[in-house]
């Protein structure tokens, strides 16, 4: 009866349903305590006779902080034991530990002996990991479009060691996990002047992406394309200015950045050695820059 307003009123009674009530308008359901709970239509129900412990005086509001098995039936307020499993700022799940992420991927797991630069699996757990590109690619076949998820993950320790990995899988989470494993396998050391910036300005072109990097003084910050910004935080570059010209395709920007930092940086020591000159660190020794 669409026009009728139904009051749902839980009554606990051990007595049988009074015959005076119209059955047509009544919804009878069973409860845990084997009593009849009656939802009634237009007619007001008879005064309830409570027989359930804790509900002796239904007129009085009992402790709402406790979960009552009868009244607070909805599971979203907590589990059977009365635990309210609310997510707070303290227990908000952040980057899950690496071994949890890599669980179940035994073939793909990073072998500690293959890690470069004396890294251990403990060090890897503290790495910054950023999944910068997650895309849905589709392979057109005679059977139709087959979608696959592609992920590009950049990993770094924030102190000069970083790498990136790409992977594809049907599920995005698995693709990210695979890409993270590959990133851990492709780690390289990046040279930074003063552990904060690049040694000199770099111009690099990768496919249709041209990037200009400019070395900047301390306190400047990473003022650059957002992908370059994430890579710099993974590498540990604190001051840089960059401009991307041409294509800003994220995958190519990331690859161009890594290529530029590995290939194009010339250290003053190497330049001096090539020319047969001595290098004197004027900035630190002469001007006495202190910690």
């Amino acid at each position: 009866m669409a026009s009728t307003r139904l009051w749902l009123r839980c009554l606990a009674t051990s007595a049988p349903v009074p015959s005076t009530l119209s059955i047509k308008n009544a919804i009878i359901c069973r409860t845990f305590t084997n009593t009849a709970v009656v939802a009634v239509g237009r007619k007001r129900p008879a005064a309830p006779v409570a027989r359930v412990p804790g509900l002796d005086n239904p007129g009085v509001l009992h402790n709402l902080a406790e979960i009552h098995p009868l009244l607070d039936h909805y599971p979203r307020l907590g589990d059977q034991d009365g635990n309210l499993n609310l997510v707070t700022a303290k227990n908000w799940p952040s980057n899950p530990p690496l071994d949890e992420m890599l669980k179940g991927q035994a073939e793909d797991d990073v072998d500690e002996s293959s890690l470069p630069h004396g890294l251990t699996k403990d060090d890897l757990r503290k790495f910054i990991r950023r999944a910068l590109v997650i895309k849905r690619t589709s392979n057109m076949t005679t059977a139709g479009k087959i979608p696959t998820m592609y992920a590009l993950v950049v990993a770094g320790n924030g102190r000069g060691i970083a790498g990136y990995g790409e992977a594809k899988d049907e599920e995005p989470a698995r693709a990210v996990r695979k890409a993270t494993n590959r990133a851990m396998r492709n780690l390289t050391v990046f040279d930074r002047y003063d552990d904060r910036t690049i040694y000199h300005d770099i111009d690099h072109k990768f496919h249709a992406t041209k990037i200009q990097f400019r070395s900047r003084p301390p306190g400047f910050g990473n003022r650059c394309n957002h992908y370059i910004h994430e890579i710099c935080s993974c590498i540990g570059i604190l001051d840089i200015s960059a401009k991307v010209w041409g294509s800003r395709n994220p995958m190519n920007v990331i690859k161009a950045t890594f290529e530029a930092f590995t290939q194009k940086q010339k250290l003053p020591d190497d330049i001096a050695r090539a020319r047969g000159k001595r290098v004197v660190d004027v900035q630190h020794t002469y001007y006495g820059a202190s910690e």
Binding site: P268, A274, R275, K277
Partner: protein, 153 residues
């Protein structure tokens, strides 16, 4: 009369082709710039010679052999990479660049001056001053400005 930008092209191309030595026209300006390159360590030696090879003993320049006179620069490489990667002219016939001491100081600090980009670590600039053809820092030591001929890295 070959200009300084001719020298820039010859030197850069010689390094790119991984040549052992190159021959450039024997002029006072070319000799002066080649001396700066030698002092800075870009080039192993500067010799006078003819169009085929450098001289082993001293050969005076006479009207008979002047057409064949060349300067030979011995190029340097390190780890299969040329020591000089790029040499470009700064002051050109289309736009002459003459700088004062303040502007040269800005260049040396890595800042722009007169639409010319600042020097990067390891980069040199060769300029002609009243004291002769000098590298930028030598000119600053003498407190003299001048026409910036070329830059090399």
């Amino acid at each position: 009369m070959p200009r300084h930008y001719d020298l820039c092209s010859r030197v850069q191309n010689g390094f790119r082709a991984h040549l052992r030595r190159i021959a450039i026209p024997d002029t006072k300006m070319n000799l002066a710039i080649a001396n700066v390159l030698y002092k800075e360590g870009f080039v192993a030696s500067v010799n006078r010679g003819d169009h085929i090879q450098p001289d082993t003993t001293y050969v005076p320049t006479t009207p008979d052999n002047i057409a064949t006179r060349r300067l030979w620069l011995e190029l340097k490489y390190n780890n299969d990479e040329p020591v000089l990667k790029k040499m470009t002219a700064v002051s050109k016939p289309s736009m002459k660049v003459v700088m004062k001491v303040q502007e040269l100081q800005a260049l040396a600090a890595g800042n722009r001056a007169q639409f010319i980009k600042g020097l990067q670590p390891g980069e040199i600039a060769i300029l002609t001053t009243n004291y002769g053809v000098l590298e930028l820092r030598e000119a600053l030591a003498k407190g003299s400005g001048g026409e910036v001929l070329c830059r090399a890295i």
